[in-house]
């Protein structure tokens, strides 16, 4: 904690305009920035107060930013959505010199196509996660290294993917070696998924659903989210989260500063606090997504799920990060998925 306090003190001293400000944060509820212990410690260290406002969809973020100009200082935006907010001129480029922890951020995340535009960075990479596969340890002695495990006849009837058109197409794209953000050969995806369908026992919908099916043996291998896998393992489910050679689907959330924020220096000090290793270690205990800060991941205890999956140094290059999806594409994927389901 002392390290953190000195860090905050350093930020306080080096930022001349910083005095007791009210920082208004726009985020999902219960997603890191509003952890009580973290906010209290921050307020104590800086004298600033933190006020939260929540959104329930990405569209709502945009609506709120458009209609309440100057009302927010820090906004969480998913990297696939950042370009749209930038295009509307609602964000300021990030002044990286104001972030003490910036140098520790993974260059792969800092260079993320969604967060960058016109040569400027518009979101500080903060939290990330993956959709990949998880397998039951009771069934697998050797962990699979390829996504083809889902197509393995050995597991016919004990395989599952989520009932989601976009995710299904992206899994198909990974399995056919395509870019998930630019699927050139949709027919190849269709035939690959058609082959997969007979192996599927049921589609999963929620984390709870997944846990039940895995616990009862209905699943041997299934697609899963990294954050959910961490929670399931924490609850005692005997599974392993695997990132296959073909890669995984990634999402990345960034913290951005709106153009009309009145407390930009305070906003930067809060973002710096949010990407600090000490905050992340505390968050990880309560079930956090992956951190974009390599120093933060390194600071985790060795038995932490996030540290274990991030051990693989090639991981961030294997993961394909989701970019914005055009409505026409979304509808095309939806139709493909509905047709596949209806043909069963």
């Amino acid at each position: 904690m002392t390290r953190l306090l000195t860090a905050i003190a350093a930020v306080t001293l080096t930022a001349p305009a910083l005095h007791a400000d009210e920082i208004r944060v726009l985020n999902w509820q219960g997603y890191g920035t509003d952890l009580e212990w973290a906010v209290e410690a921050y307020e104590e260290a800086t004298g600033n107060t933190v006020v939260h406002e929540y959104f329930n969809s990405e569209q709502e973020t945009l609506t709120k930013m458009r209609t309440n100009i100057g009302a927010y200082d820090v906004v969480l935006i998913n990297s696939s959505f950042t370009p749209q907010v930038v295009a509307e001129g609602l964000l300021d480029p990030i002044d990286t010199s104001k972030l003490k922890n910036f140098s520790n951020l993974d260059p792969a995340f800092v260079g993320n196509a969604g967060l960058n535009g016109e040569g400027e960075l518009y979101g500080v990479p903060w939290a990330w996660g993956m959709t990949s596969i998880a397998v039951s340890n009771a069934d697998f002695d050797d962990m699979p290294t390829s996504l083809s495990v889902l197509w393995d006849p050995k597991w016919e009837g004990r395989v599952s993917i989520r009932d989601d058109a976009v995710e299904a197409v992206q899994i198909g794209a990974l399995a056919t070696g395509q870019n998930i953000n630019d699927v050139q050969d949709l027919e190849a995806v269709r035939s690959k998924l058609t082959d997969l369908m007979p192996s599927i026992s049921t589609y999963w919908g929620s984390e709870n659903d997944w846990n039940q099916n895995m616990a009862s043996g209905s699943f041997a291998a299934a697609t899963y989210w990294s954050g959910s896998a961490a929670r399931s393992i924490g609850k005692g489910l005997d599974i392993t989260f695997v990132v296959p050679d073909e890669g995984a689907i990634g999402w990345l959330d960034g913290l951005s500063v709106p153009k009309d924020s009145a407390n930009k220096d305070a906003a930067y000090s809060f973002i710096d606090w949010m990407i600090d290793p000490e905050f992340y270690v505390g968050w990880d205990k309560e079930g956090a997504p992956g951190s974009a800060n390599t120093a933060a991941t390194a600071a985790l205890p060795d038995d932490s799920f996030n540290k274990a999956i991030l051990k693989d140094p090639t991981l961030t290059t294997k993961v394909q990060f989701m970019q914005p999806l055009a409505d026409e594409k979304r509808e095309e994927f939806l139709k493909l998925w509905q047709d596949l389901k209806a043909a069963q």
């Binding site: 058109a165 389901k341 209806a342």
Partner: protein, 289 residues
């Protein structure tokens, strides 16, 4: 004469006064939400917030443009036929036993058992079936405990699981409606037929079935209509095989937020069910006479 008319008029007025709260309630509770959905089904976008919308017929034409929708509708109608047939085959004999063969407290106890499923939440019932039917589940363990050979019973995520779950949910309708109709049959009719030498199947075919047909048909309709639109049971028990017309509509509302298409698909289902009932009604009427 005039007194009679007055009485008839006051009767009518009284009936109107007594019934109007019920009809008003029906109008509010059924007609308004339904007409809102009918309105949505002709829109390009649900008019929430500042969404732009216009009137269109594309939601209805979408049904005819892809064979997916009609194929799933046929699948759902077939499911309705199967479940209704099974409910009638199981429920009618049960109702007969209840109405004619058991008397007194035993009948009350049996009635309680018939109605019992109604007292539990349908979702709980369906999840219980999932636990029973899955591989390594209750049924699998039971069969293996009494069967000398090793067998694997895994019915979950198949059409059978859906049919079992639905029959269990809707069986009480057929039993109750058939019971009422069967109880109204005068025993002396059956005794007369028997004394004239009629065999049991002749009695069933010529006396019992025609006289109890209204109740049996009412039960069958009560089962058929909801089963064709069912979505929760197929989704949970059917797994990969559980994509039906009802789940397709559900997806439009909860997964892809295309309410207009969901509403249009619902009204097409309503139309198809009404057509089926209209086509069936003359045949059913003839069966009654």
């Amino acid at each position: 004469m005039s007194g009679g008319i007055n009485i008839a008029r006051t009767d009518k007025l009284r009936a109107f006064a007594l019934l109007s709260p019920a009809y008003l309630w029906l109008t509010l509770a059924v007609f308004l939400p339904l007409s809102a959905m009918a309105f949505f089904s002709f829109l390009t976008e649900v008019p929430f917030g500042d969404a732009e919308w216009s009137v269109t017929l594309t939601n209805y034409s979408a049904f005819f443009e892809s064979s997916t929708f009609s194929r799933l509708l046929l699948k759902s109608v077939m499911l309705g036929v199967k479940v209704t047939a099974l409910c009638v085959l199981i429920g009618f004999p049960c109702a007969w036993v209840l109405a004619k063969m058991i008397k007194g407290r035993a009948r009350e106890a049996l009635f309680l058992m018939v109605i019992l499923p109604f007292w539990s939440n349908s979702l709980v019932r369906i999840f219980s079936w999932a636990i029973v039917l899955r591989g390594n589940g209750v049924l699998d363990k039971f069969v293996n405990a009494i069967w000398p050979w090793d067998v694997k019973v895994n019915l979950l995520f198949s059409e059978w699981a859906i049919v079992i779950g639905l029959v269990h949910s809707y069986l009480p309708y057929v039993i109750l409606t058939s019971y009422l109709a069967l109880q109204a049959i005068d025993d002396s009719l059956i005794e007369a037929a028997r004394s004239l030498g009629a065999k049991w199947w002749t009695i069933l075919w010529r006396i019992v079935l025609p006289l109890s047909a209204p109740g049996l048909l009412a039960g069958a309709v009560l089962v058929f209509v909801p089963v064709v639109g069912s979505f929760m049971e197929p989704r949970i028990l059917g797994g990969r095989m559980g994509t039906y017309y009802g789940t397709l509509i559900e997806d439009q509302f909860v997964a892809v937020f295309n309410w207009p298409l969901g509403a249009a698909l619902s009204f097409i289902l309503l139309a198809v069910v009404l057509i089926i009932l209209a086509v069936a009604s003359p045949i059913l009427k003839r069966a009654q006479t």
